[in-house]
């Protein structure tokens, strides 16, 4: 089996302001090294699904299995550890810590994981920044970078612990076509070289077309 992520009948409801069935019996599978994109109209539930898959949302019914481990019965602290170790997440709005330097932003998840000493982590972080072509910005404060640079820092942060899966919530949504292309190429390369699976929510057809598989969603269903 080369499954890295699997869901069985995931259902999710929003209770506020009125009860709303967002996700309906979602069952998907993701293979190792697979590069999958999720597409669908706004409000169809793709971001909600992604948050559940990334374990950041625990309020759902159904089963989520990541790397052979069932997530349903994990404590929040365990989930945090799993996120730290196995999942890299790229937000639409980069979500960097504005007060910290670029380098520190990238280093923090690894420092938390605590597998290596600070020097090795620093070296790794610089390497990742180099892959993304922004090693020269390492000592700047995160809040001083441009949007495209920030997004690349966010990607560097997501891969610092060499996770099994990288999830992106429209990582190219706010980037121009040139920057989108850079981001795509980087993700593609990482997936092949570092044995990572990609699960990317996107609106961008050009982006999606280049991925291995497209999961289309509409009104909470997978088509």
């Amino acid at each position: 089996m080369n499954l890295i992520l699997e869901t069985k009948n995931i259902n999710k409801y929003f209770l506020e302001p009125v009860k709303f069935h967002v996700l309906k019996d979602i069952s998907i599978q993701l293979q190792r090294q697979e590069f999958v994109s999720i597409m669908g109209k706004s409000g169809c539930g793709k971001s909600t699904l992604l948050y559940i898959l990334s374990t950041m949302d625990t309020n759902y019914d159904g089963e989520l299995i990541i790397d052979g481990q069932n997530m349903s019965n994990q404590t929040k602290d365990d989930l945090a550890r799993i996120r730290n170790e196995k999942i890299g997440f790229i937000f639409q709005f980069h979500y960097l810590l504005p007060e910290f330097t670029v380098l520190k932003n990238v280093m923090l998840p690894a420092l938390k994981l605590g597998k290596d000493d600070a020097n090795t982590i620093k070296k790794n972080a610089l390497e990742k920044l180099d892959i993304l072509g922004i090693a020269d910005q390492a000592n700047k404060k995160a809040s001083r970078l441009s949007g495209g640079q920030k997004q690349r820092v966010a990607i560097a942060r997501s891969i610092i612990n060499n996770p099994k899966i990288i999830m992106g919530d429209e990582p190219t949504g706010n980037l121009d076509s040139k920057n989108s292309e850079i981001v795509f190429d980087v993700l593609r390369k990482l997936s092949a070289e570092l044995d990572m699976s990609m699960l990317i929510v996107t609106h961008d057809h050009d982006f999606a077309k280049k991925t291995d598989r497209i999961i289309e969603m509409e009104d909470g269903f997978i088509l």
């Binding site: 950041m56 602290d77 810590l97 605590g114």
Partner: protein, 420 residues
Amino acid sequence: MKDLFIILDISKTHLLAKKKQTAVAALGVTFGIGMFIIMMSFMTGLNELLDGLVLNRTPHVQIYNKTAPTETQPSDRYFDVLNNLNYIHSIKPKSRLERIHNALPILSELKKNDQVKGATPQATCKVFYLAGSNNLNGVISGIEVKEEVRLFNFKDYIVDGDVNSLIKKKNSILLGAGVAKKLSLSVGDKIQVVNTKGANFSLSIGGIYQSGLAEVDDIQSYVNLKMAQQILGAGGNYISRIHVKLNDINDAVPISTLIKNLYDVEALDIKKANAQFDTGSDIRTLISYVVSITLLIVAGFGIYNILNMFIYEKMNDIAILKATGFTGKDVMYIFIVQALVIGMLGGVLGIGLGYGVSLIIDEIPFVTEALPTIKTYPINYDPLFYVTGITFALISTFLAGYLPARKAQKLDPVEIIRGQ
């Protein structure tokens, strides 16, 4: 351990990144704690001053001979009270000397007692101060100056001259301020006094005594014990009062009862002697407690508010940290550390502020007739206020950090992200 290091590192970055905000939050703590310390120091300082006004110069137990009718009349002893109705009209007290019987042995026994800080003998005589054709009524007390100074702060009430003149010169007198004013006398002058038997004594004024109570200052003067005994025409064992100071004022009642039972004397404890003062003092203490608690609550809410906002502004960071694998506990510790650093910083500054302003108040002139030695406003530098202040700063900042952080700890990161 490793986590702790990261937590401290993140906290440091947060605090240093927004120095202005950190400073404002810390200043909030500073003012709260500073005000508390200033108010408490000043208020209890004034209270102590007022208490001291009475307590310092009032003996804890006064021993003297009481003039009162005998409680058990001889007839009651002879004719059994249960079976007879004894009735005596117009009972008069037995004539007794004013002097305490066996005063010297009592004095030395008292001094041996562990609970007693000291005991001083006094011989009181009624005199007239002579001023030309005027005779002023007066009372002269013979005292042991050194002990009075040690036990009852006697020196504080000598506004002019030298308290030790009584020791240096036998016929020296510390004249009541009212008498001195009426007779236009000052230190170095001579004064004639006449005792009740008509004998005339010439005394030289070594100092002016001012208690702050006009009715006392108008009649009371002090001389050496020996001199008083000479004016009275009595021997060296003539002592009319013994004033006792105890190590603990709360022992006053049991000790006075003990003395009354042991010796043939009357003993008056300070609680009975100053009943109305005691009530006033209790109420003042109560008020200062109420004010201090109010101050702490107000300061606490201020601190809580400022810090709460400080942390809510960081909600985004909480979500990011949690999304990248930091646990709820890590996040909570990060904010508790920041809150405590602010509390510590603000608390220490608050102590400095409180102490500084206290020093300034301590220099502001405050002149009162009642306390000739007080020249500036009184301040109580009790370390307890400072300890309470910083403890409170730490507790309130801890809660202000802990409560919102605990809430954030339980949230899924997505709930914070979605809430924006």
